[in-house]
C-alpha cells in the first residue's frame, strides 16, 4: 500500500494517536493484510512506537501480518453453534483444505479462521465465506459449498 493512501487514512482521523486502531482497521480492510512498511509509516506519522503497533497488530484478531488467501472461510465456534456441532464443520474444513484455523494454504486460495459468534445463533452451525453466511451446516454440505469457491 503506498504511503499517500496511508497518509490519507491517517488525515481522515485527524492524525490523533488514539485513532491508531481505527487507522489500522481501514488499512487491513482495504489491503487485506498489514505489511511492515505500512506499519512503519503509521508509526512515523502518528508518533507511536512500532512496538505498540506490533502489539496491537498481534493482539487483535482482525489484523494479519501475512497476506491472506483469496477466500476467507470463517467458522463460528460460539456456544450456540458449538452445541449444535460446529467442531465437526471445522474438522471437515481442516481435512479438506489441509490447514488449521489462523493459517492460509500455500497457494493462497483459502484462509481459515474461527470466529467467536457472528450473532446468527438460530442458524447454527454457521460458516461464512467471503462475508456470505451459510447456516444449518452439515459436514457433507460444507464439502459441497466449498466446491463453489475453487
Amino acid at each position: 500500500m503506498d504511503n499517500d493512501r496511508i497518509d490519507q487514512i491517517i488525515d481522515k482521523h485527524h492524525g490523533a494517536a488514539s485513532s491508531l486502531i481505527q487507522v489500522m482497521l481501514e488499512i487491513q480492510s482495504e489491503h487485506h493484510w498489514l505489511p511492515k512498511e505500512s506499519l512503519k509509516r503509521v508509526s512515523q506519522k502518528l508518533q507511536v512506537p512500532l512496538t505498540q503497533i506490533l502489539h496491537i497488530a498481534t493482539f487483535y484478531k482482525a489484523f494479519s501480518l501475512v497476506p491472506k488467501g483469496r477466500h476467507q472461510v470463517h467458522v463460528c465456534v460460539g456456544t450456540a453453534c458449538h452445541v449444535r456441532g460446529a467442531s465437526r464443520i471445522l474438522d471437515t474444513l481442516q481435512e479438506l483444505i489441509k490447514i488449521k484455523p489462523g493459517e492460509t494454504d500455500l497457494d493462497l486460495n483459502y484462509s481459515l479462521e474461527t470466529v467467536n459468534c457472528v450473532g446468527c445463533c438460530a442458524l447454527g452451525p454457521v460458516m461464512e465465506i467471503d462475508g456470505k453466511t451459510y447456516g444449518k451446516m452439515t459436514p457433507t454440505e460444507t464439502i459441497d459449498i466449498l466446491k463453489n469457491y475453487d
Binding site: S18, I21, H55, T92, C117, G119, C120, T133, P139, T140
Partner: protein, 641 residues
C-alpha cells in the same frame, strides 16, 4: 432538511409526518436483520419489490426493510400492515401469492402463518403467536415497525420526545433522580445501578466527562445488542444524549465490534441523520446543550467488552484491563470521569423518561426492575431473542416461549452469563430470573445469553469449551488468568480425552481459587465459573470421565465408539455410502461393521441410519463387542408384521 431547533418545532414536524403516514396504507415489513439476511431475506425483499412493480401497486403499497423482531428460528419474517398478519420462513417463491392473496384480496396465506407443533393451532396475527404473546416487548416490539435507515420512522413512533422533554422540562439532577428511582441496573452483565453510576460521574469535580456505549457484545451465543443497534439505532442515541445531559458530558463514543458490519453501518447512518435533523451537535433543540458522538470499531478481542479494557482500546492501545480500585466513572477514559453502559441499558432510558420510573418498576422484581432481552439459543425449538419481565421463571422462558427441546430430547441444563456464567440444572428451572437469584445459583445474568443444553451435551466438555475460549481471549497480563486458564484447559482437555486422573478435580479447584482471588480483572476472576458450576451440579460426569473413562452424554469423541448392532442392521448401505473415512465394512445383505481403527468418530453413520432400524449406537466406558464372524454376517430380514 432544516434543523429542528425547538421542542415545538419537533412536535410540529412529528404531526406532519403522522398526517403523511396513512396507517391504513398496506405496508409489507420484511426483517432485514443479520439473521434473516443470512436465511435469504435479501432475495425475498428483491422479490417483493419486483412483484409490486409487476402488479402495478407501487402507488398504494409500501415495503419496509426493518430491524430484527427476534423470531430468528422462523426467518425470513414478514409482517403485513395494517392487519399485522405475520408470515414465517418466507421464500422468494411465496412472494407472488402473498401480494395477490393478502395485499389485493385481503386473505391469509394459511401455509405461511405460525402453526403450533403440538396443537396444530394457527396464529395468523403477530400478537397471537405464543412466542411473542408471552413476552413483554418494550424494546424489541418496535423493531419490525422501523426501517433503521430512516430517522422519520423513529420520529413517527415518538422518537426523540424523551430527549425533548429532558432538555426543555427537566434539570440534569432530576434526570439522574428518575434513573435512580427506576432502579435500572446495567444490562451488560455487571448489574450495577445505572443511576448511582451516573450520580458518581455527575458529582466528579472535572469539567470534561465522557459517555460510552458498550456494543462489544462478545459473549458467544448472545446477539441482543446486535438486534437493538442494527434495528433501532436512534433509540440508543437518544438514551445516550439524555445520559450525557444528565452527567454533564459533551462527547460520547460508541464502541461496536467489527464482527457486526450491519450494526456499524446503521449506527453511523443514524448519527449523520441525527446531526442533520439537529439532535446532535451544537445547541440541541435550542437548549444550549452541545453533544457530539463518534463510532469506534472493535478489532476482535473479547476482553475489550470489559469496561476498562474498552476504554484502553478507545485510547488506541491493546485492550488490557486496569484494576478497578479507582472506579472508571471517576477516572475512566483518558483518566476523566466516564459513564460506560451497555446498549440495552441506554435503550431503556428514553422509555423511563417518557413513561416514568414508576411505570418501569411495575415490571420485574424488587431487586431487578424492567425487562431483559435474552438470546435463547442451543437445543431449543424457538431460537431467537425474547424480552421478558425480570422475575419470570426459567421454565416459562424455555417451555412457554421457547417451545421446549426439539426431537423429544430431555432438558439437561441452561447456561447463562456467557463464559463468565454457569449452568443451571433441571432442579432449578423454577428459579425466578433476576440478577440476584441467578448469582445465588452459581451463575449470573451476564449480558443475556441463554444456551439450552439437552441430554446429548457433555457438561465436562462445556467447561472445557469455555476454558478454551477464555484462554484464547485472555489479554495475558496477569499470571492467574494467563497461566491459570491454560493449565485448567490442559487438565479439562485431558479429562475429555480419557487421560483424566485422580487429583485433577482438586488441582482444578486450587487453580480456580487463584484465578478468582488474584486475577486482575473480571475475565480472569470469573474464568473458573463454568468449571465450578458444572462441578457443583454434574460432579458425576466428571467422575465418570476420570474413573471410568466414560462420557455419560456419549459426546466426547475419544471416549465413544460407534457400533452397529448386528441384530438391527438391515444392510441398507446408507452408512457405508456416506462414511467419509471408508471405515464401514459391508455389502449387500451383509451386516455392516464399523472398523474401529479407521473410524474418525464424525457421527455421520449415526445420523444417516434410518430411524426405523436405529442400528448405529454409541458406546462409552465399555469394550466394543468383537465383530460378528464373517460367515455369520448374512442379514436376517425382519418379518413385516
Amino acid at each position: 432538511m432544516p434543523q429542528i431547533n425547538s421542542s415545538e418545532a419537533l412536535e410540529k414536524f412529528r404531526q406532519e409526518l403522522l398526517t403523511k403516514n396513512d396507517a391504513d396504507t398496506p405496508c409489507i415489513s420484511i426483517c432485514a436483520g443479520a439473521g434473516c439476511i443470512a436465511s435469504g431475506a435479501g432475495e425475498v425483499i428483491t422479490a417483493f419489490k419486483a412483484e409490486i412493480e409487476k402488479q402495478g401497486l407501487q402507488a398504494g403499497v409500501n415495503t419496509k426493510e426493518t430491524g430484527c423482531p427476534g423470531f430468528c428460528e422462523r426467518g425470513p419474517v414478514v409482517v403485513i400492515y395494517p392487519e399485522e398478519i405475520c408470515y414465517l420462513q418466507v421464500k422468494p417463491e411465496d412472494v407472488a401469492e402473498i401480494v395477490t392473496k393478502t395485499i389485493k384480496e385481503k386473505k391469509v396465506v394459511e401455509r405461511l402463518v405460525y402453526c403450533d407443533s403440538l396443537t396444530a393451532e394457527k396464529a395468523p396475527l403477530e400478537s397471537d403467536i405464543p412466542f411473542y404473546k408471552n413476552q413483554k416487548r418494550n424494546l424489541l416490539g418496535s423493531n419490525i415497525k422501523i426501517d433503521p435507515k430512516s430517522i422519520e420512522d423513529y420520529l413517527v413512533l415518538d422518537g426523540y420526545s424523551a430527549l425533548s422533554k429532558v432538555l426543555t422540562q427537566m434539570s440534569a439532577e432530576s434526570v439522574v433522580e428518575e434513573i435512580k428511582l427506576s432502579n435500572l441496573r446495567g444490562r451488560g452483565g455487571g448489574g450495577f445501578p445505572a443511576g448511582r453510576k451516573w450520580e458518581g460521574t455527575r458529582n466528579a469535580p472535572e469539567p470534561v466527562k465522557y459517555v460510552i456505549v458498550n456494543a462489544d457484545e462478545g459473549d458467544p451465543g448472545a446477539f441482543m445488542d446486535r438486534a437493538l443497534l442494527e434495528g433501532n439505532p436512534h433509540s440508543i442515541l437518544e438514551g445516550l444524549i439524555i445520559g450525557a445531559y444528565a452527567i454533564g458530558s459533551h462527547e460520547g463514543f460508541i464502541y461496536v465490534r467489527q464482527e457486526y458490519p450491519l450494526a456499524v453501518e446503521n449506527i453511523n447512518l443514524a448519527i449523520i441523520q441525527a446531526q442533520e435533523y439537529g439532535f446532535l451537535g451544537k445547541n440541541i433543540l435550542g437548549s444550549g446543550f452541545d453533544f457530539k458522538v463518534s463510532v469506534h470499531q472493535g478489532a476482535g478481542a473479547f476482553v475489550c467488552g470489559e469496561s476498562t479494557a474498552l476504554m484502553t482500546a478507545i485510547e488506541g492501545r491493546v485492550g488490557e484491563p486496569r484494576p478497578k480500585y479507582i472506579r472508571s466513572n471517576i477516572k475512566g477514559l483518558w483518566d476523566k470521569p466516564s459513564v460506560l453502559n451497555n446498549v440495552e441499558t441506554w435503550a431503556n432510558v428514553p422509555l423511563i423518561i417518557n413513561k416514568g420510573a414508576e411505570w418501569f418498576t411495575q415490571f420485574g422484581t424488587e431487586g431487578s426492575s424492567g425487562t431483559k432481552i435474552f438470546a435463547l439459543v442451543g437445543k431449543i425449538n424457538n431460537t431467537g431473542l425474547v424480552e421478558v419481565p425480570m422475575g419470570i421463571t426459567l421454565r416459562d422462558i424455555i417451555y412457554k416461549i421457547g417451545g421446549g427441546i426439539p426431537d423429544g430430547k430431555k432438558f439437561k441444563a441452561v447456561q447463562t452469563g456467557g463464559p463468565s456464567g454457569g449452568c443451571i440444572p433441571e432442579s432449578l428451572l423454577d428459579l425466578a430470573v433476576d440478577f440476584d437469584e441467578l448469582s445465588k445459583a452459581g451463575s449470573m445474568m451476564g449480558s443475556g445469553g441463554m444456551i439450552v443444553m439437552d441430554e446429548d451435551t457433555c457438561m465436562v466438555d462445556v467447561a472445557r469449551y469455555f476454558m478454551e475460549f477464555l484462554a484464547d481471549e485472555s489479554c495475558g497480563k496477569c499470571v492467574p488468568c494467563r497461566e491459570g486458564t491454560r493449565q485448567m484447559l490442559k487438565i479439562l482437555t485431558n479429562i475429555t480425552e480419557g487421560r483424566g486422573k485422580e487429583g485433577d478435580i482438586e488441582l482444578l479447584e486450587e487453580l480456580s481459587e487463584v484465578a478468582k482471588e488474584a486475577a486482575l480483572c473480571a475475565l480472569g476472576k470469573s474464568a473458573p465459573n463454568s468449571f465450578l458450576s458444572t462441578l457443583r451440579y454434574f460432579r458425576d460426569e466428571y467422575e465418570a470421565h476420570i474413573k471410568d473413562k466414560r462420557c455419560p452424554a456419549l459426546s466426547c469423541k475419544e471416549l465413544i465408539n460407534f457400533y452397529i448392532d448386528p441384530e438391527k442392521c438391515q444392510a441398507c448401505g446408507a452408512c457405508l455410502k456416506k462414511c467419509p473415512a471408508d471405515a464401514i465394512i459391508g455389502g449387500k445383505k451383509l451386516i455392516h461393521i464399523v472398523d474401529q481403527d479407521k473410524c474418525t468418530k464424525c457421527g455421520t453413520c449415526f445420523e444417516v441410519c434410518p430411524t426405523k432400524f436405529s442400528a448405529v449406537t454409541k458406546l462409552s466406558g465399555e469394550p466394543v463387542p468383537a465383530p460378528v464372524p464373517e460367515a455369520e454376517r448374512t442379514v436376517v430380514k425382519k418379518d413385516k408384521k
